[in-house]
């Protein structure tokens, strides 16, 4: 039969409407119509018509079938008409055969094509789709364990990763409207132009869901700016890595944790977004421990360190809004952070007393006698935030108080003071020294509702000589 002229029907036995039109198809064949029938599930259906076996859905995918039955009228290789479901008048007009389906209702809606079953579009795109993906394909040995193979190729952070098959990567790319070929960032240390596709591959490996991808992309863009300096952050001997703080509606939409154990394990979005960023730096940028990563200790947050701010329970405006992003806009703030130092104050009921505790604990970031060279994130818990809310303290009021408390006499801070050789240069002895540079202390609200604790995430070399926090809006 000439495939470029005639009629093609797509059916599946599971569909009641397809079974309904089974005699109609036989009638068309008897009338001498050049009709091909493609069946999506049972090749013996429709009976006696020698249906084409399309159980692999290749023909249905190519024809873009969404509903069964679909009747295509093809002329000179082009579809001139596509009918979905059963409609006697339309079928008679399209085929030129009168008296179709005696005894059948005038019309009956069809069923969904198997090409649209959950997960099927990505599978079919991987199998039959055009070459939208550009990444090199690696064929593993038949006896090679794919998880072991990925370890051996150095693709993982030490934990298993999800195998990045074409199907999974195509599904991941559904998470954004941006083109897979778009260069998202130039990733250090190898300064590689990283396409969105490469980010998607690493996001698959990290365990991300597609809806996390825009956050991963934004985090990578922020990390690869000159201000953030992820290259230096990677190379340093200090125990630091990128910390991703998420604000705005995207956090709740993708199910991020900003409450109990927000800085800990157990939430897929928190865990995999931070991990995806690290895997991109590792695999695309080539940054690995023992290579450009020269950390003396490292810290567990270098596997992943990502959380959302608890905005609803916060007495303050969101961190991203304070940093210039419009209210209601999703954003990511990157911070060059080391580990988490929790702090306790179960006695303070006044903001002045609690601020005193916070300042005393912040003073020791890196070293009590070193200042201005390390930023910090102060993660205030709901129970501590309550003290400030009830006293009507804004974030800037708290910051002002902390700035005052963190101004120490230079004579106590310089080298040799207190019998400790480490400290600020002798020339700074005369004047008070602030602990943090302007803008060097970020304050966010997160954590569980029980616990009069807060947490400090110490920084790395701060400001222009090291890393500055970077906030970017999330593009979908």
């Amino acid at each position: 039969m000439d495939p470029s002229n005639g009629y093609v029907a797509f059916v599946k036995a599971e569909c009641p409407t397809c079974r309904l039109v089974e005699p109609v198809l036989a009638q068309l064949r008897r009338a001498g119509l050049p009709l091909t029938v493609c069946t999506q599930d049972d090749p013996s259906f429709p009976a006696g018509l020698e249906a084409v076996d399309d159980t692999d859905l290749g023909r249905s995918y190519e024809a873009g079938v969404e509903i069964v039955p679909t009747l295509l009228h093809v002329r000179d290789g082009a579809v001139v008409e596509a009918l979905q479901g059963w409609d006697r008048a339309a079928w008679e007009r399209a085929t030129g055969v009168a008296g179709l389906g005696a005894g059948l209702p005038e019309h009956r809606a069809g069923c969904g094509s198997r090409t649209l079953d959950p997960g099927m579009p990505e599978l079919l795109a991987a199998r039959f789709g055009g070459e939208t993906l550009r990444a090199r394909r690696l064929e593993l040995g038949v006896l090679e364990d794919e998880f072991e193979a990925m370890f051996e190729r150095g693709w993982t952070d030490g934990l298993p990763v999800v195998p990045p098959t074409r199907q999974r990567v195509l599904r991941m790319l559904e998470g954004t409207r941006r083109h897979p070929g778009e260069v998202v960032a130039v990733v250090p240390p190898d300064l590689v132009e990283c396409t969105l596709e490469k980010v998607a591959i690493n996001a698959v490996m990290a365990g991300c869901r597609p809806e996390y991808l825009p956050v991963v992309l934004t985090a990578l863009e922020a990390a690869c700016t000159g201000e953030f300096n992820v290259h230096g952050l990677l190379a340093t001997t200090w125990a630091s890595g990128p910390v991703v703080i998420v604000n705005g509606p995207v956090a709740a939409r993708i199910g991020m944790n900003s409450g109990g154990n927000a800085l800990g394990q157990g939430n897929r979005a928190n865990a995999t977004i931070g991990r995806a960023l690290q895997l991109v730096v590792r695999n695309v940028g080539g940054g690995r421990p023992g290579g450009v990563d020269r950390a003396t200790h490292g810290n567990p947050g270098k596997y992943t360190f990502c959380f959302a701010e608890d905005e609803r329970g916060s007495p303050w405006e969101p961190l991203a809004v304070e940093r210039g992003v419009a209210v209601g806009t999703s954003a990511v703030t990157l911070f060059a952070g080391s580990g988490v130092q929790p702090l306790v104050d179960q006695q303070s009921r006044t903001p002045e007393s609690l601020a005193g505790t916070l300042a005393a604990c912040l003073q020791v970031v890196a070293h009590p006698k070193l200042a201005l060279a390390w930023d910090a994130v102060l993660v205030v818990s709901p129970e501590h935030a309550r003290v400030f809310r009830e006293a009507g303290w804004s974030r800037s009021r708290l910051r002002e108080e902390l700035d005052g408390l963190l101004l120490r006499p230079g004579s106590e801070m310089v080298r040799g003071a207190g019998g400790i050789a480490e400290g600020m240069p002798q020339g700074m002895a005369a004047a008070p020294i602030p602990k943090f540079r302007p803008g060097g202390l970020l304050i966010v609200h997160a954590g569980g509702t029980a616990g009069m604790f807060s947490a400090i995430i110490g920084g790395w070399a701060s400001g222009e000589v090291g890393s500055q926090p970077v906030t970017r809006e999330v593009r979908e």
Binding site: E139, L140, A149, W155, P164, R166, D190, I201, L279, G286
Partner: protein
Amino acid sequence: MTRPELLDPTSERQPAARRRVSRPASLEGLTVGLLDISKPRGDVFLDRLEELLSARGVEVLRFRKPTFTKPAPIDLRREISVRCDAVVEALAD
């Protein structure tokens, strides 16, 4: 059986096929594994090889597959790769 196919997550600056470790120019200071595949009299050959290597000051570690009919277990292959610089696999009968 179809071969699993993965997309390369890297910058693709390294060749896709991993290179074999090159042969050592000398055995001096190296550890040599002797893998007995469990065929009869393979041990006779390997015992003699161990004598000869040890006499030359080469450190020798002995390994044995549970059966010659199957590939070496993955743990054994891993152990040899981690502990030895070179390996001699005996094929005797």
